[in-house]
Point group: C2
Chain length 169, copies 2
DNA sequence: CGGGATTACTATAACCTTCAACTATTCACT
DNA sequence: AGTGAATAGTTGAAGGTTATAGTAATCCCG
């Protein structure tokens, strides 16, 4: 990320082997880090305050709302959220304790578990979406031109694909 | 973020009040979410595996390495990391238990605490930086054109500024 | 059919972050 | 000086995430 400031030159050997980041790149990288962190923070806080949902829980509800029968297998849900299966299990357990989703055995595959959205869960999503969209607009979309925002999406999509692929050069 | 799919039209009332996201915007938003999440994940994992450091700990070392005397007051450190003071306290405590930093009373202000990098901490940063930079390049920088990357930084900087300001329109 | 490999998911514990409450010090003002 | 407000930082508990190991069902293929 950033070259350790040193008067001893001890870091220069490393710099010789690794293509370091230019000053401009370094600034861009830090801006990226801080921006994504702060955005995540504020969206999470808004959603928690206004709707009593974490970002992760909201995402679960969105995915389920779009699935046929408002149901998704745990593994599919986890993959679609880019979460570990373990994380999905915990999140869904907490949500089911609140009555937002239900877990039912997967017909046809005894190993599988289907996560189904309850009416209550759907109602909460419907009630929460406007405030959340407003928040996303206010903190992200409205800060950029339409073109910038779409470019942002395209860039991060390339990154996501590389990460998914394991990111060999 | 995304309009709940509904056949009942129950969400349309909300949509009437809130400027929803267009299909293209929605795609961009999800790409952004997934990309930042996966990038964060893979960078964290790489750093942890190669160097035994979390991203947060690495950032602490970077900030300290750039500070005069390789020391920073806790509150300055926390602000510069965009972390809560509490989080900074915990992180620094763990790092000091490993001998990477030291906490010393702040001369001139009895309330303050200075966090000072040890030689060991500096050595670990120097040893870790090359692998981390490689990781950032591989997963982010090299996936984009130079122009795209700088634009990315500029966009997230606008977002960060808005978040810092409290984001009134 | 049957036994090993694979897949699907869960449980436990360790770790990190957040939150709220708390102590100590300094500042502002009379 | 003296008191109330603000600042600096820590603490401990609660909650979420990750890692690891475990159980159960299915698949594969001889």
């Amino acid at each position: 990320m950033s070259e350790p400031q040193t008067t001893s030159g001890v870091a220069d050997d490393a710099a010789a082997e690794v293509p370091w980041l230019s000053t401009a790149e370094q600034r861009a990288w830090r801006q990226f880090l801080e921006g994504t962190m702060r955005l995540n923070d504020v969206l999470h806080r808004d959603l928690e305050r206004d709707c009593g949902l974490s970002l992760a829980e909201y995402e679960v509800l969105v995915r389920l709302s779009e699935a046929p029968g408002r149901a998704l297998r745990m593994s599919v849900l986890a993959a679609s959220l880019a979460h570990s299966r373990s994380r999905a299990t915990h999140t869904v357990r907490r949500m089911s304790e609140r009555g937002l989703v239900q877990r039912v055995a997967c017909p046809g595959d005894g190993r599988g578990v289907n996560c189904v959205m309850t009416e209550e869960g759907f109602a909460l999503l419907v009630a929460s979406a406007p405030a959340h969209v407003r928040s996303v607009r206010r903190h992200l979309v409205d800060r950029l031109t339409a073109q910038e925002f779409l470019t942002l999406g395209a860039c991060l999509d390339k990154v996501a694909q590389a990460c998914r692929a394991g990111a060999e050069p």
